[in-house]
């Protein structure tokens, strides 16, 4: 078990814990945002991860360096199994569990052994984490319901903290011209890039011959990237992970955001698209309907129909009245997730976990 510091100073510290930290993933971003919000209220602490991508190592420390005392609060941002997190469940500290959701392993068994095992065990062990925590929250009501199904008496909802400041810097604009359709999310099977690419192909063939599709997100593996590249036809670019300024430039150039994802705990790109006034066409999966509300063109009921998605993309690109209405509604959704409101909920949740 990582080091136990005596609480001689009398100061309570709040540490954020992750199973894995990467440069572009939403959960790492949230742990850092919680750290900043709580530090402003006098609840300082560090962010630690079991597995760290070297590109995220500057801000996130290894779990072995965790220096926690009895009375401190550990906020565990849960998104996958990691053996060393489990060791922390029975310590003398307070424990708060934030459920970011875990991809069902059925999407991963055939594409990534490590991720499949981490997700399968993560879901299996969720009840044990719920039982050990002093307070639990999901980043959406969808996630909170999963916590209650795992045994929580009461699960709060503390949404994703979107800092508008990080959307201001502009990097490199995507090359080419023609209407730009954007897909933002890791290149993993549950995001269903196959269906997004199929929708785009129909759009390009029938409605917008000059359209371009830019898929932004790190691939599960080199092999999986090659598999998706094999599906990508003319006009499709797989950009990999982009820095925030480059992603901002992509949003600023895009005419529509598309998501064919089948499993989402929250879906941060919805809020990012709203911030840029970019219309969204999406499948109503997981936590997305509660986040997007009436500001998204939902691509209907199951099964996902790429032809309907193509028609919606065309409407979102070409109908200025529709675009303006969606932009207004997107702004209203953003107000629901205003940083000061979410910050209050983060602080209230942490205080409750400390006073439990």
């Amino acid at each position: 078990m990582p080091g136990l510091r005596s609480c001689a100073s009398g100061l309570t510290r709040v540490h954020q814990l992750l199973s894995a930290a990467g440069p572009y993933d939403a959960v790492s971003g949230q742990a850092l945002a919680w750290q900043r919000v709580l530090a402003q209220r006098g609840l300082a602490g560090d962010v630690h991860a079991v597995y760290r991508d070297p590109r995220a190592a500057g801000e996130i420390r290894p779990i072995e360096q965790l220096d926690a005392a009895a009375g401190d609060l550990l906020v565990l941002h849960y998104s996958a199994h990691a053996p060393r997190l489990r060791e922390l469940l029975d310590g003398p500290w307070r424990l708060a569990l934030v459920h970011h959701n875990i991809t069902p392993a059925r999407y991963l068994w055939h594409h990534g052994a490590f991720a499949a095992v981490a997700c399968a065990l993560g879901r299996r062990e969720l009840p044990r984490y719920v039982e050990a925590a002093d307070a639990v929250a999901g980043v959406s009501a969808f996630n909170a319901r999963e916590l209650e199904a795992a045994g929580a008496e009461q699960a709060d909802v503390v949404p994703i903290f979107l800092d508008p400041g990080r959307l201001s810097a502009r990097g490199r604009t995507p090359t080419g011209d023609g209407p730009l359709v954007l897909v933002v999310g890791r290149l993993v099977p549950n995001k269903r890039h196959d269906l997004a690419i199929e929708s785009f192909a129909l759009l390009r063939r029938e409605l917008e011959p000059r359209a371009r599709l830019l898929c932004v997100g790190e691939a599960l593996s080199g092999e999986y990237r090659e598999l998706v590249e094999g599906m990508a036809g003319e006009g499709v670019t797989l950009a990999g992970g982009l820095s925030q300024p480059d992603l901002n430039a992509a949003y600023a150039s895009a005419l529509v955001l598309l998501s064919a994802s089948e499993h989402e705990g929250f879906c941060v790109p919805l809020l990012e698209a709203f911030a840029f006034g970019v219309p969204v066409v999406a499948r109503p999966a997981g936590g997305m309907p509660e986040v997007g509300g009436d500001a998204v063109l939902w691509a209907g009921e199951e099964p996902f129909d790429p032809a309907v998605a193509a028609e919606l993309l065309h409407a979102a690109i070409s109908d200025s009245e529709l675009r303006a209405e969606l932009a207004d509604r997107g702004q209203a959704r953003l107000e629901e997730y205003a940083p000061e409101r979410v910050a209050e909920r983060i602080v209230a949740f942490a205080e409750r976990a400390l006073s439990w």
Partner: protein, 105 residues
Amino acid sequence: MRPEDAAEDARAQAARKRDEGRYPPVGPGALEGSIGEPELDDLERWARIHVDPAGAYSTRRLGAPVTGVKRLMLRLLRQQQLELEAQQTRFNVAVVEHLRRLERE
């Protein structure tokens, strides 16, 4: 057009063009066949462990030398890795065989 009308309009357009043969029937998507819980045949295939050294790489900027060192170390430790793979494969194959027997009974 109002957003509330857009979905209905899109469905109508898609149905009309599908009737005209311009859109294909709704399919499950190219990935569908590789999504799902593993079958016993999958377990049998996965039982034989072979870890590709290409999986060892660096994500750092200018990480090529780090990748080179990692792969060199794997080559130097190949003997140990083969024994590890063999022991794990022996266990896996035995378990799958056991499952096959249970399935037949």
